[in-house]
């Protein structure tokens, strides 16, 4: 596993706020030369620590006013394969996130929809018809916030 020093952590903090920063800009902020910053960023990418970029958009401005998290319990464990459920659920375009979890539910889904009526359509036509789906709990997302994590 990769070892981080304070400079690496500062680079991760800067890029977690603005992933569009160039190596030169990162270097200027941390008093590193451009090549030194580039080498460190490259090393973090190769170690898999920097795993791409995430673009956050104003979903409401694009017509997607509702984001819902679903907890899904499979009804017929053993009879329906997890692979069948996963294959079907990941193919739904409104489903952004699928996580296999351990606890009260078997899966967590993040679903985007235009409005509550559109969400109901997705839920009835696409989610409730998934192979093996059992109890479903829905919570409508109000706010979300990413934190820097243990990088101090």
């Amino acid at each position: 596993m990769i070892d981080l020093d304070d400079t690496d952590r500062a680079i991760l903090r800067a890029l977690a706020l603005d992933g569009m920063l160039s190596a030169g800009e990162v270097g200027r902020r941390l008093s590193l030369s451009q090549p030194a910053a580039w080498r460190r960023i490259r090393r973090l990418e190769e170690a898999g620590v920097l795993a791409g970029r995430r673009v956050e958009v104003d979903r409401a401005a694009l017509g997607f006013g509702v984001t819902v998290f679903l907890g899904v319990k499979l009804a017929t464990k053993g009879r329906v394969s997890l692979e069948d459920f996963e294959r079907a659920v990941t193919a739904i375009p409104e489903v952004q996130v699928v996580q296999h979890v351990l606890g009260l539910f078997d899966y967590r889904l993040r679903v985007v929809a235009r409005d509550i009526a559109d969400f109901e359509r997705v839920l009835r036509r696409r989610i409730m018809t998934l192979p093996g789906v059992g109890q479903v709990e829905a919570n409508v997302l109000l706010t979300e916030e990413s934190r820097p994590g243990p990088l101090a």
């Binding site: 958009v57 694009l62 996130v97 919570n139 706010t143 243990p150």
Partner: protein
């Protein structure tokens, strides 16, 4: 701002793969590189694109445990949400905070190096958060799908 068909095409392809180079993105969206650059700037200025952040893979840094903690808060106290969230921000291992309308009020994403460290964080930092009425945990086994894409 008005979002037209070209903006939607650009955003659809950009959200699907934020890491692709600009020439490929322009090609897929059917616009020239100059148009792409201008349109992306305009979407950023208008706040449609809110952030373009690097993704940190905590597993690559040795954080093998990820738990989704779902809280119901004691809503007899009108300050419960605010005080809970302010306190949750102080816990470095909390990497995301979401609020909901539904049976769950708040969800925290908590990471830890192993189960022993998780238990330590859970006892000392989570159970001591203010105004908790109920709390349940979903342990992440695997992320099957995680995309920022919208069905534009």
């Amino acid at each position: 701002m008005q979002i037209d068909a070209a903006d939607r095409r650009i955003l659809r392809h950009y959200l699907d793969d934020p890491g692709q180079d600009r020439a490929t993105l322009a090609d897929r969206a059917g616009v020239t590189p100059a148009t792409l650059w201008r349109r992306l700037e305009r979407l950023r200025d208008a706040g449609v694109i809110r952030s373009e952040a690097a993704v940190i893979d905590w597993r690559a840094l040795g954080y093998a445990v990820e738990v989704s903690l779902r809280f119901t808060l004691d809503k007899t106290n009108p300050r419960a949400f605010d005080e809970f969230i302010v306190a949750a921000r102080e816990v470095p291992e909390v990497v995301a905070i979401e609020t909901f309308l539904g049976r769950v009020d708040v969800r925290l994403n908590v990471i830890a190096r192993d189960m022993a460290q998780y238990q330590e964080i859970y006892r000392r930092r989570i159970l001591t958060l203010p105004h908790i009425a109920e709390l349940e945990a979903l342990m992440l086994i695997a992320t099957i799908k995680d995309v920022g894409g919208l069905p534009l």
